[in-house]
């Protein structure tokens, strides 16, 4: 056992006596075998840190260790058996009855609680099991909230309230809607995981709603008022003159409510200039004439070396 004692305790070589004491106490509280009856392997580590502490906590021994005159071997405390090795023997019962735990009595009461023995009327009351469901809901139901009538696994119908702003895979808890309890015990809970279906044109990012809005060439060039769908009713929005495909406009407060803050997000409208569906000779003639004197290069960026 020639480990570095400082590393064992987790302090540097120039640590003060106080640092060493503090580090040891912290480790010992974590690793004391009697405080960890479930972890058989802490005993070995505890033994090491205690042996290290026995040397490092004594300035004289620490000095000799630093000068290489002693090492960690043979310095362990006389090995006693830990309390946990005895604590589950029947003899330990005298320590528990001190707490008002009659020992054999205690085990008997425990079994009675489990199996309803002894005729004291303590039947097995137990809470019913929880049940989990999934529930597909529409984009708008999630955004605005909704009431849904659903049929549970056992045939009962309940009205489920979906709060506005619920997010995908969120779990709703329905207290007492799980399996019935046993012998008067309370029923379990139902958990409903909502699965939000995608919307044909709205898209959600956190609490904001994104929408691609087609506009005419005229609206793009001259600007104008257009009607925009939102998760509530449509609103009128002004397209500025000279807007382009890719221009993003914001409708403040038209997004989805944030369940935590209660604030609504925004709706972002991304414009998309759309030509008429059928080619138009007049527009072609105009474009040809216009281009003769108005050359411009929208692809300049693509040719720039990166």
């Amino acid at each position: 056992m020639n480990d570095d004692l400082y590393a064992t305790i987790g302090v540097s070589r120039d640590a003060s006596q106080e640092d060493i004491k503090r580090a040891y106490r912290k480790l010992a509280k974590e690793l004391h075998p009697d405080l960890n009856p479930d972890k058989p392997d802490v005993a070995e580590r505890f033994k090491k840190i205690t042996a290290a502490y026995d040397i490092l906590s004594d300035p004289e021994k620490r000095g000799r260790y630093d000068r290489g005159e002693i090492d960690a071997s043979g310095q362990e405390r006389p090995q006693y058996r830990y309390y946990r090795d005895f604590a589950e023997d029947p003899a330990a019962g005298r320590y528990y009855s001190r707490e008002g735990f009659g020992d054999e009595e205690q085990l008997h009461d425990f079994l009675e609680g489990l199996f309803g023995r002894g005729g004291r009327g303590s039947r097995v009351r137990a809470r019913g099991a929880d049940v989990s469901y999934t529930l597909p809901i529409s984009f708008l139901e999630a955004a605005k909230g909704a009431k849904k009538r659903v049929t549970m696994g056992d045939g009962r119908t309940i009205d489920l309230t979906i709060p506005p702003g619920v997010h995908d895979r969120q779990m709703l808890r329905l207290k007492g809607q799980g399996m019935p309890g046993f012998d008067g015990g309370p029923p379990g809970d139902a958990y409903v995981e909502v699965h939000i279906q995608p919307h044909p044109f709205f898209e959600r990012k956190d609490h904001n709603v994104h929408l691609d809005l087609p506009i005419t060439l005229t609206e793009a060039v001259l600007g104008g008022k257009v009607e925009v769908p939102t998760i509530d009713s449509p609103v009128t929005m002004t397209v500025p003159k000279g807007s382009n495909t890719g221009t993003v406009l914001r409708l403040r407060g038209r997004g989805i409510v944030d369940q935590r803050s209660g604030q609504r997000g925004d709706q972002y409208v991304r414009l998309q200039v759309v030509l008429p569906e059928t080619p138009d000779p007049e527009l072609e003639a105009f474009a040809r004439r216009w281009a003769e004197t108005h050359a411009y290069d929208p692809r300049a960026d693509l040719r720039r070396p990166s």
Partner: protein, 115 residues
């Protein structure tokens, strides 16, 4: 079984006065508790060592000790009960053990889709 002096010598980290106080406080309950000549079993000695560790190495305050010991004692009671229960379950037929395992592993049942 050891006498008080023997325990003090063997443990080396507690003196007669302190050990006597621990006995009076009920932290240590010698297997043979005669006040003149108490005798300590291995269990009692292990408990004395534990109290030395808690009081001296871990610096648990004297007034906090009853709380710590009480919680520890409760943990050991619970462990005995769990062990007794585990032993009883181990002796059950396979199907009973499987049924218990199923219940413990699936506290929440799958209820399928509501939509």
């Amino acid at each position: 079984m050891m006498t008080l002096s023997e325990v003090v010598t063997m443990v080396g980290r507690v003196d007669r006065v302190e050990l006597t106080q621990w006995i009076e406080a009920g932290w240590v309950m010698p297997e043979r508790p005669e006040p003149e000549e108490p005798r300590f079993s291995d269990l009692d000695i292990a408990r004395v060592c534990l109290i030395c560790d808690l009081r001296h190495d871990l610096a648990v305050e004297e007034e906090t000790m009853p709380l710590v010991l009480s919680l520890l004692d409760q943990i050991y009671v619970l462990r005995r009960q769990v062990n007794a229960l585990t032993a009883a379950i181990r002796q059950q037929p396979d199907d009973v053990r499987q049924a218990i395992l199923d219940l413990l592993e699936q506290p929440r049942r799958r209820g399928g889709s509501l939509g």
